[in-house]
């Protein structure tokens, strides 16, 4: 694949894929052929980018929450609010569940596959992180230590460590080989307790590693003056991997909502999708600035985002039942 330089300031919506129910999250497969979106109708929708051909992956008994892929892209594993992990053949003409596994007690919010494609990690409301073998779904180990609902998980690019983030803003680093808790990143700026409304709110909504593994970003929200009314602002925390120190608190002036997902672009900048009372936005930050260097308003609130392997296409999942493909490049003339 020939990579062209990304131009975030030229970002624009290039394509829209229509579904009939609101979408929750989205992912490109590693080959870049398909984009997948979890939907409120309990299905995962798969669109082939070149043809726009749409296929439903039906198997979850509740909302599917996220989907992860082996590095080759052959196998996809989804998690959902039905307590399940489901294995799929990514490119099957008519995808059927290959394996369905009751992974947790309660919602499963997080699923991640190791860089070597051998292990899949999951986490959810039972506050337990579990690791399974991708090949046969056999349990490998489970780790306890979270005090609140687990929202996110990601393997370090080395494959040696797994991070899991929770509602309370704590991100635990686990040694994959032993299950030992190595250290905890303090991302509690993403959490708050509102005593008036008596609710915990916020949490680590996504974890993203820079490609070299030397930095990690945690996305979510802060300034939650009215959690039940969706009055809050997006926040992405950038940490060094070596010392687990916070390097930046990336904010976006004038934008309200949640940074549902952040990704490191191979060219060094960080991007995130925001959704909430301030509408949908793509936000871009450089390493040395807290404030976004560019903000792009999407036509509808965003709930999920992914970066295509080409570094140019960005998929966003929307409440208005559309999956949008934005391009980090000037419009074609």
């Amino acid at each position: 694949m020939v990579r062209v330089a990304a131009d975030p300031k030229a970002v624009h919506v290039a394509e829209e894929f229509q579904h009939d129910r609101p979408l929750i999250s989205c992912r490109f497969d590693p080959t870049g052929r398909f984009v997948f979106a979890c939907s409120e109708d309990f299905t995962i929708q798969r669109w082939e980018l070149a043809t726009k051909n749409k296929v439903a992956l039906a198997g979850h008994g509740s909302w599917p929450r996220d989907i992860a892929f082996t590095p080759s892209g052959d196998v996809a594993i989804s998690c959902g609010y039905d307590e399940m992990l489901i294995w799929w053949e990514t490119a099957a003409e008519k995808p059927q569940p290959l394996r369905t596994l009751k992974a947790h007690q309660g919602w499963v919010d997080a699923v991640a596959i190791s860089p070597d494609g051998r292990l899949v990690a999951s986490g959810g409301r039972d506050r337990i992180v579990r690791i399974w073998q991708v090949e046969d779904g056999a349990p490998v180990r489970e780790m306890s230590g979270h005090e609140k609902h687990i929202y996110s998980a990601a393997f370090h690019p080395s494959g040696e460590y797994l991070l899991s983030g929770d509602l309370g803003g704590k991100v635990h680093q686990w040694e994959v080989a032993t299950g030992k808790l190595v250290r905890t990143f303090d991302a509690t700026a993403l959490w708050s307790y509102n005593s008036g409304q008596q609710v915990d709110y916020g949490g680590v909504r996504s974890i993203a590693f820079r490609q070299d593994g030397q930095q990690v970003a945690f996305s979510g929200l802060h300034n939650a003056s009215n959690p039940l009314g969706a009055v809050n602002e997006p926040l992405v925390l950038r940490f060094s991997w070596e010392k687990a120190e916070k390097l930046r608190s990336h904010v976006a002036q004038g934008v309200r909502g949640v940074a549902w997902r952040a990704c490191f672009h191979p060219e060094g900048f960080l991007l995130a999708a925001n959704g909430g009372s301030g509408g949908g936005w793509l936000l871009f930050w450089k390493e040395d600035d807290d404030q976004a260097f560019h903000k792009f308003q999407l036509p509808n609130t965003a709930r999920g985002m992914d970066l295509h392997p080409d570094g140019i296409q960005v998929a966003t999942a929307h409440y208005d039942r559309k999956l949008r493909i934005s391009r980090l490049a000037p419009k074609a003339t």
Binding site: R21, P22, E40, D41, F42, G61, S62, W63, Y81, D82, G106, W107, R125, Q197, Q198, V199, D200, Y201, P227, L228, G229, A230, G275, G276, S277, N300, T301, Y319
Partner: protein, 429 residues
């Protein structure tokens, strides 16, 4: 304000002979009682029956779809599934697994339409049985029950108690029934404020202090007795009684295993305290659980809140049943309204009063019943629609109070409940 003592009502004449004699129903010009209920025989019967009422207020607006009327798989259904209950054919949200096991004690009213989407007005009509108007104020259900079920001769303890997560104090919710029936709020489930004797004061000191107060009071009352002074006197005497029985409000005196069964969180402790108060004869107890006003992330917040509600509520219902109290205790789980079937862009649900649910249990309420039905998406009631006024009548009738009775307010009979409505007969066993 002069007290109108010349009414001659039987209730009043009887009450005058008691220790708290001469204490009228309140500061207002209420001179009568609750019609037929005020007769000695009726009141004696209610007292013997030990009728009580417990209201659990799901503050903010509980989602009916995440509780009593799930619509799994519908576009409005959200992510949660429905589970079977102890009553074949009745399903409720999977967020209530323990409540599902006590469904045979409960009745669900799934066809509530109150047409009021404002928080303040919504909770007013649910607790008063009437729509709020500038022209008149009415007492809350707690005040009505406290008065109607008050033992002859009055009660040493307040009959209208609200356990809140906020501060304590006295409510202003009895309208023309007067402050005597206004709620006493137990902030965070703690005993009423200033209900313990100051440190260092001996029994003798206290007795002499009260004796002196009564002497001065009697001297003053011999010449200037009014409803206000009577109420003042009553408040002191009630406070004294309350201080002597302060342990009733101390939930830590409940067995440790019960404290564990109810859970180590505020709502669990408040439910256990409610049981304790009801067992000690408090007529009306209200517990609040916050916060259900989930315009944002409705499902995550309901997941948390219902998880906290489910265990203590089911435990409380089981305990009331096991102890033989459910036959005499009405339990009402209400809210100011329900939440929109439509899921908004923040995964939230907004206010929706046109099709929602209330859960009842105990007293004369039918057990293991469902009344009313909403359509496929839960947007409208399609069968057995009821409103706040009918529910209010039903609450009163369920504990033996004639909801069609009137209260004599300055010579004007005021209906206890909305006279245009009637009890829901299907719910009354």
């Amino acid at each position: 304000m002069k007290c109108t003592y010349a009414c001659g009502s039987q209730e009043h004449l009887l009450a005058r002979r008691t220790f708290l004699g001469g204490v009228v129903a309140g500061v207002g010009a209420v001179v009568g009682g609750l019609g037929a209920l005020a007769t000695p025989s009726a009141a004696r019967q209610l007292a013997r029956d030990g009728k009580r009422v417990l209201v659990i207020n799901m503050h903010g607006g509980l989602s009916q779809l995440e509780s009593w009327d799930p619509k799994p798989g519908a576009p409005t259904g959200g992510p949660f599934r429905a589970i079977p209950t102890s009553v074949p054919g009745i399903h409720i949200s999977e967020l209530l697994p323990k409540t599902a096991q006590v469904m045979h004690h409960l009745a669900l009213v799934r066809g509530v339409n109150t047409s009021e989407d404002d928080h303040g007005k919504g909770i007013y009509l649910m607790l008063h049985g009437r729509r709020q108007t500038p022209a008149a104020d009415y007492p809350e259900i707690g005040a009505v029950v406290a008065k109607a079920l008050e033992p002859l001769g009055g009660d040493a303890l307040p009959g209208h108690i609200k356990i809140t997560s906020g501060g304590g104090g006295r409510g202003n919710d009895a309208a023309y029934l007067g402050p005597r029936y206004a709620s006493v709020r137990l902030g965070d489930g703690k005993p009423p404020s200033h209900s313990s004797r100051p440190d260092g004061m001996s029994d003798d000191d206290e007795a002499r202090r009260q004796q002196f107060r009564r002497l001065v009071n009697e001297h003053f009352l011999s010449r200037r007795r009014t409803a206000m002074t009577d109420l003042y006197t009553y408040s002191y005497e009630q406070a004294l009684q309350l201080m002597e029985q302060r342990q009733i409000f101390d939930v830590s005196l409940e067995p440790q295993k019960d404290q564990e069964r109810y859970g180590d969180h505020a709502f669990g402790r408040h439910c256990l305290l409610a049981r304790r108060l009801l067992e000690h004869g408090i007529t009306f107890v209200q517990v609040s659980h916050s916060n259900y006003d989930t315009h944002n992330e409705n499902f995550r917040f309901h997941y948390e809140q219902m998880g906290e509600f489910d265990g203590p509520f089911a435990t409380l219902i089981s305990d009331l049943a096991d102890r033989g109290m459910l036959d005499s205790t009405l339990v009402v789980v209400l809210s100011e309204f329900g939440r929109t079937p439509n899921i908004n862009q923040y995964y939230g649900r907004d206010h929706w009063s046109r099709a929602w649910s209330v859960c009842l249990a105990g007293a004369k309420i039918a057990r293991g019943a469902v009344l009313g039905k909403t359509n496929e998406n839960g947007t409208a009631v399609v069968d057995h629609q009821v409103d706040h006024a009918q529910l209010f009548h039903t609450y009163l009738q369920a504990v033996g109070i004639d909801s069609f009775a009137t209260i004599d307010v300055a010579g004007r009979p005021v209906p206890l409940a909305d006279p245009a409505a009637a009890p829901i007969k299907e719910l009354l066993a």
